[in-house]
């Protein structure tokens, strides 16, 4: 097939994926509200259809452009939204066995795709020489994989904050339950107990729209703790690539600067989790700040700030 045909296949598959996600999102929200099992089945089925279509769209895009389809903002956005949904299906539905938060993950992907097709679309085309490096696949791939994990972690964090608030309100009249008896006396002072554990629930989890705050909190932590090393790896491979393309591994280019800021904020989040008194809500707020920084790194730097990464943008 010719490049034009592949480009058309890619765009059509994109449309299929977009509407599949959109309907799956609505079905998932319906399940969240009314707990009809059939709606969950519809949501999962459509999500899988969307994933398949989107994978096709990405592959066709690569064939149309004759290169790995991670060359500009449109392609990053498509792959990002794909990975967010994939990570959701694998980690949240599969491993976490949490069924009620799908709508939020899908909403993130639907928005990302809408922005991509409305503001960032460019036809498939070959790359300028500086982008022509095998480091591109490794660097951009790991950045997008980690972005999707961090983004999903932050979606879950928002849900955690909402749920935690509800549980706290409900428990205000109740006496707090004491935490488990852990003997810390023989542990060195820097071993923080339960660094990756959720804050002790103030009230017992109650039946409600969302899973218990404890579950959401742990899920968010796991996703971010998984995404952070990959983000680190992405920055390092980016530096290696920059060394060969631009003669320096670090030059405080806006994209570099903001990826570093995002790294520092999530590092702060991980430290906060290990510090007593900073678990739960306060750590969640840091994660949200990190999410804001991630969005700036991802969108604002390419679209509004001039730097070496500008050509990875929309033109």
């Amino acid at each position: 097939m010719s490049a034009e045909t592949w480009a058309r296949v890619s765009n059509d598959a994109f449309t299929v994926a977009f509407f599949a996600y959109l309907v799956a999102m609505l079905a998932s929200f319906h399940y969240l509200a009314f707990r009809k099992r059939s709606m969950w089945v519809v949501a999962i089925a459509l999500t899988l259809v969307g994933l398949t279509a989107q994978l096709l769209s990405i592959v066709a895009r690569g064939l149309a452009a004759g290169r790995f389809p991670l060359g500009n903002m449109y392609e990053y956005s498509v792959v990002l939204s794909f990975l967010v949904v994939l990570a959701y299906v694998v980690f949240v539905e599969g491993l976490g066995k949490v069924r009620t938060v799908g709508g939020f993950a899908l909403a993130f992907s639907v928005l990302t795709m809408a922005v991509a097709v409305l503001f960032l679309y460019v036809g498939p085309q070959p790359l300028v020489p500086a982008l022509n490096s095998y480091w591109r696949q490794i660097h951009v791939g790991s950045m997008i994989l980690s972005s999707s994990l961090l983004a999903l972690g932050c979606v879950v964090t928002i849900l955690y904050l909402a749920k935690e608030r509800r549980e706290r309100r409900a428990a205000e009249a109740l006496t707090p339950i004491m935490g488990g008896a852990v003997d810390l006396d023989d542990a060195p002072p820097h071993f923080e107990a339960g660094a990756d554990e959720p804050a002790e629930p103030v009230a017992s989890p109650r039946r409600g729209l969302l899973p218990a705050a404890v579950v959401l909190d742990r899920l968010a932590y796991r996703l971010i703790a998984f995404g952070f090393p990959i983000w680190t790896f992405g920055i390092i491979t980016g530096a290696i690539w920059a060394e060969s393309a631009w003669s320096r591994y670090w030059g405080w280019d806006p994209k570099e600067t903001w990826s570093f800021i995002t790294w520092v904020i999530f590092a702060g989040y991980l430290h906060a989790r290990a510090t007593s008194g900073w678990k739960g809500r306060r750590a969640a707020v840091i994660a949200l700040v990190g999410f804001g920084s991630l969005l700036i790194t991802y969108y604002a730097v390419n679209l509004w700030i001039v730097g070496l990464h500008s050509y990875a943008g929309v033109g």
Partner: protein, 486 residues
């Protein structure tokens, strides 16, 4: 550690300022225009170092503070880790108050049962101490978490030091080398475009690069496809020559000095004679001004200047080079700008001025100040042709060459920084995913056999420890049973 994080965040925010305000050496033109448009604001920015954030005293100060704070935090932690690596797990009593507790009845005598328990825990990679006289053992596992965490933080420390040392003792600059010429790595040969580190010891390498050929290829759409400089590298004594192809993403290296493809341009060979006497014969580097909005740099001509100060009156020649001569005629006939991607019948339009070159006032070789000069001739000269400017002055254009702009860099910190980055990743894994677990087992007589009491807890990943604890308890019962059989 909190102080270090805050300092790190301050550095990051300073970097934001650096990414929004134009920086010295990166956007000098924008700084100059800011000084013209908003003199007061520009002066304030200049005073507080906003035009050179990464070189400002306060950035250095915060960086130094970060190193001190990180080191001060890591030293005691490292001592603590060494202590806990050396010490054995300590015995505990009152196992039944622990988060996880179980009792297992085994048919063996207590002293044999406790040895069996020890084997079970060893097999599960616990560090075990005991049994002591009281018939109990203590075990722990997961020190890798703290080892990884410290490795991560020390590697980050080394990275910060490696960055400063590498940049500080190194240099980076741009070399402009015309095809067929040789360039020697030395301060004077950068024409002022070199930036040397704070601790730079004036030890330029003296390595040489001879550029044989430069080729730029473009796609039919005008998008660049490849830039290649074919060159020969030689050490400072001219030995150890090596042929290389330098292209974007593929630098060449000799003696720790790296050459990167940065840019290119055109250098016509110009020969000027006055009454048969050769005044100038060689390639002249042409430059390009920024194209107007919506015009590709490929569509506009290149400019260069030749100054002849020995003539009386002095003569200055201004050239406008069209590497593809068809573009000039297309522009003249249709008014449309055509992209010039390859050399094709190149032509140069020239303006000749006579008068005072004011060599003391005009420093730049590429600028001709025509105030106080009179234009006495103008015309066009094609490649291989000679133009007669009158009064015995002739200009020939024997051939057109290209020049390659190479970024020349030496950074000795590179291996350190790379190694540190790898160690950061290696340390991060156990630091994030490891968990510290402690277990104790005691055995006491119970009828014919003995009763094992097992207690323990995990400092992280408690839910997973629950499974592990269950398995340990199961193994304790089973293994002891096997021991009975033999």
């Amino acid at each position: 550690m909190r102080t270090a994080l805050v300092l790190l965040l301050i550095l990051a925010l300073a970097a934001v300022a650096g990414s929004l305000v134009p920086q010295v050496g990166v956007a000098d033109a924008r700084i100059a225009s800011m000084f013209r448009a908003h003199p007061l604001r520009a002066r304030i920015y200049d005073q507080i170092g906003l035009f050179d954030v990464y070189g400002s005293w306060w950035f250095t100060f915060v960086y130094a503070l970060l190193l001190v704070s990180l080191g001060a935090c890591l030293l005691p932690r490292t001592r603590g880790l060494v202590r806990s690596l050396r010490s054995r797990p300590v015995p505990a009593r009152e196992l039944d108050t622990m988060r996880h507790y179980a009792e297992v009845a085994v048919p063996e005598a207590p002293d044999r049962a406790i040895l069996g328990a020890r084997r079970v825990l060893r097999r599960r990679l616990f560090r075990v101490s005991g049994p002591n006289g009281l018939g109990s053992i203590a075990a722990d596992k997961g020190l890798a978490r703290e080892v990884g965490s410290l490795l991560f933080h020390w590697a980050f420390f080394v990275l910060l030091v490696g960055v400063v040392w590498g940049k500080g003792t190194g240099f980076t600059g741009q070399a402009v080398v015309v095809e067929g010429e040789t360039w020697v790595e030395a301060h004077a040969n950068y024409d002022g475009s070199v930036r040397e580190g704070r601790f730079f010891d004036e030890d330029h390498s003296g390595v040489q690069i001879h550029v044989e050929d430069f080729t730029a290829t473009y796609r039919p759409t005008g998008q660049p496809e490849d830039f290649v400089t074919s060159a020969t590298l030689a050490g400072s004594d001219g030995s150890a020559t090596r042929s290389v192809e330098i292209r974007v993403n593929h630098p060449a290296e000799i003696d720790g000095v790296k050459f990167f493809q940065f840019g290119y341009g055109w250098a016509p060979v110009i020969r000027v004679e006055k009454d048969g006497q050769v005044l100038l014969d060689g390639p002249v580097v042409c430059e390009q001004s920024a194209p107007p909005e919506g015009v590709s740099p490929l569509q506009i001509p290149w400019n260069c200047v030749v100054k002849l100060p020995t003539l009386d009156p002095q003569v200055g020649l201004r050239f406008e080079l069209w590497p593809d001569g068809r573009a000039l005629y297309a522009l003249l006939e249709t008014g449309k700008a055509m992209p010039m991607v390859t050399e094709f019948a190149p032509v140069m339009a020239y303006d000749a001025f006579e008068g005072d070159l004011r060599a003391d006032a005009v420093q730049s070789a590429s600028v001709l100040d025509t105030i106080g000069m009179r234009r006495f001739d103008t015309g066009v000269v094609g490649a291989g042709r000679t133009a007669d400017l009158g009064d015995g002055l002739t200009v020939s254009f024997p051939e057109l060459r290209q020049y390659s702009v190479l970024q020349v860099t030496r950074d000795r910190g590179l291996p350190i920084v790379l190694l540190a980055a790898i160690l950061i990743l290696l340390g991060l894994m156990p630091a994030l995913y490891g968990s510290r677990r402690k277990l104790w087992v005691t055995a006491e007589p119970d009828g014919a056999g003995s009763l094992l009491r097992v207690g323990g807890f995990a400092l992280q990943r408690r839910s997973r420890f629950e499974e592990e604890f269950t398995k340990v308890v199961r193994d304790l019962g089973r293994t002891s049973g096997e021991g009975m059989g033999t």
